[in-house]
Amino acid sequence: MSHYQELLFLSLQGIRSKVLASASGFISCSHPAYLDLEPSQNIDLELLTEAKRTDTALPLLCLRCRISHPLDAWLKATFRAHHENHGIELNAMASYALDDQGALTIRCSKESTADFTYSVINSLPKGGLARPFSAEILRSFDPALCGLPHWARLKIQSNNELKAYFKQHGLLLISDWALLRNSSPRRVQQACQAHIRSSSTIESLIALHSRFMPLYDMAKQEFKAITGKSSGWQPGLEFLDQLDPAQDPFDTKELLLAIAKAIRQLLTGSAIQSLDQSLEAGNEPVAPFSRDEDGPERAELNILINAALERALNNLMSAEMQKEATKFSKDEDRKLAFELYGQGLSQRDIAKQVNHKQAWVSKLLDEKRRSSEIAIAAAIELKRQPEFISCGTSVEAAERLVDALRNHLVDPKLEGDIPPLRQWVQQYMSQP
């Protein structure tokens, strides 16, 4: 029964747990039978009912302890999955979710506090997020829709501040409902066949999903019109009834969530190309200008190509680097990263030296965009030459030329060579 007495919270030393004497005392005195039971939906509901009926702080305190556990588990699982590649920090994540220290009072405004009771949290302004986050979870919890631990997980998944934090680290938190809306019947079928063990048939799950999509679009539109927000929508009883009038709305929601979970499992490990995965995979093999064709004509052509690339490099990179240079005095790491790039270090090695994640380096150098823009500018110039005239009329020729120029810009011809884009940066950085 420790889940109703033990609170997981963020302290200066990280996530810690403490057994709250007041919660323990309340359970021992008022609900001794709970001591021998596992946490359950029944106990959650009894405590919530009591919190509402008596409008006292202790039943709510037990529920605050209870929800800190699924929040903690979700945070740790998410941290484990993405820390390595994206540099997210557990304490930073926990600051959005485990900010409840277990006090029996709650701050209602800048000046005033009140008892942490159901009527008080229910009266907090509805527009913003109630703090601590547990107050937000409890005041918005509708037992008709799902269990409390699940609700806590849904609420943390739709927490806009946490979403913004993830986004800064190159991660997108996708709600179950958006995921369902954006999955084709084919994907739903694959996901259900592989990951759902349920009494419902695959056909009935696909049918439920196909009814969900148009209703979701309408409900989302309405939600946006009322709240002005694109995220945070949750299906209400009316929505679930409309979706399947013959079924208990709670069961309908459970089925939808099961489908969403199956889709997530299907996607786990699938080839969604991330920044880091792409970086780790390395670039496409070099497609050099000339392999086996030599001779005077080829040499003249190479002179034209190199001249066009040089002009495009000077033209575009001067402006780009001037803009970057304005940030060097505020952040020496940026300057160092460009210097190391000019010296030919890999993005992984640059990241190590400047003590940032590889994604940070990649975003800073923006090599793909810059090299594409330079290659296109050079190709536009070369198109005027008879040898490249087909680039104006053939998709294949245009793409082949731009690809070859881009590869030439960023890929060394021989091991140890420094390719032209890096050489240019090196020259720029060595200027006094």
Binding site: A81, N85, S175, S184, S231, I272, Q273, S372, G392, A398
Partner: protein
């Protein structure tokens, strides 16, 4: 026992994602996608006009980017399919030249441009795609190249280089369109021929010729080879397919077309050769290839063969080539013009 993988809760931000300012209210996925496209264009040194200036956010409305007619389609960031409205593709006059696909995360104000299809690439996919009501369903991974491909095509190509195709008539039109063999010698391969059938120009340098072609085209080295085009073919569930689709087949073969002639700019002969993709393999039995030029008809049905070869020399008439397999619709190539 290995621990099962936790289901994926977060998606890694895809490469090249455009992050829009948070806190603005967007009416639709399309409005986010247009804002992201404007942001990409604003970051370009070259000025690329995007229109219309008013009403661009209206669903289904074609955009104009640097004089190219552009259809913008959107789906969620985790989507696996795009729904493309058939209506736009029903008439050549209104059909777009390019189809830009954007995956939008409305909850995070992020847009990812999955890639671009040209009109003929889309038509080629639409031929075998599933439909849902008035929409053609295209897998998100069919769109390649991100926004860079769009920027490449609209800046390098002349607008006339991308013809507009209507859905119902495109294939028939392509089959009627004449392919000039002389163009191959200049390194030009008809765009539609290449995209709809997967036709590829093969290098004809001495080295390449000796190693890969001469062994197949016996005596070809002595016949003044000028250009070689090959079409990958295959059987997918008993159906004849070509191009990329063929490359995924277990049973694969290739149709090679070698233009020959003593005048390097004017071919006067065409050798057609059908072989299995792997040297020495047998072609599928009952595969039938027919080729005709005027009254000169040639046809062969495979029976334990590993090669079929036809020759055409001279003649002003068009050369018609088709392949058939029992239970599959015929694969008819556009007419080939040897001279002129």
């Amino acid at each position: 026992m290995t621990e099962p993988l936790a289901p994926l809760e977060l998606l890694s931000m895809p490469l090249g994602a455009v992050e829009l300012p948070v806190g603005l209210q967007w009416n639709s996925q399309r409005s986010l996608a247009i804002a992201a496209l404007k942001e990409v264009l604003a970051g370009q040194k070259a000025l690329l006009p995007l229109g219309p200036t008013i009403g661009a956010e209206e669903e289904g409305r074609l955009l104009s980017l640097n004089r190219f007619a552009l259809q913008l389609i959107t789906a969620g960031v985790a989507a696996d399919q795009f729904a493309v409205d058939k209506g736009t593709w029903m008439q050549e006059a209104t059909a777009p030249q390019l189809l830009l696909a954007a995956q939008v995360d409305e909850e995070n104000d992020v847009v990812v441009f999955s890639g671009v299809l040209t009109g003929s690439e889309f038509i080629s996919l639409a031929r075998k795609a599933k439909t849902s009501g008035e929409n053609i369903l295209v897998d998100t991974n069919e769109f390649k190249g991100g926004v860079e491909r769009l920027l490449t095509l609209v800046q390098l190509l002349e607008p006339a280089a991308l013809p507009r195709f209507a859905l119902d008539t495109a294939v028939t039109n392509v089959q009627r369109k004449v392919v000039k063999i002389a163009d191959w010698i200049n390194g030009q391969l008809d765009e539609v021929f290449s995209q709809l059938y997967g036709a590829q120009l093969q290098p004809l340098s001495d080295g390449a010729f000796r190693t890969s072609v001469a062994s197949r085209f016996e005596n070809a080295a002595n016949q003044n080879a000028l250009a070689l085009v090959s079409i990958p073919l295959g059987l997918a569930n008993g159906k004849l397919v070509s191009g990329l689709e063929a490359e995924a087949c277990i049973e694969r073969f290739v149709l090679q077309m070698l233009a020959t002639g003593s005048n390097p700019s004017n071919p006067d002969g065409l050798m057609l050769q059908l072989t299995a993709s792997i040297d020495g393999d047998l072609l599928p039995n009952d595969l039938c290839i027919s080729a005709s030029q005027g009254k000169h008809n040639q046809q062969q049905i495979v029976e334990n063969k590993n090669i079929i070869e036809f020759n055409f020399s001279g003649g002003l008439e068009l050369i018609n080539v088709s392949l058939g397999f029992p239970g599959s619709s015929d694969l008819v190539l556009p007419p080939l013009q040897l001279r002129g």
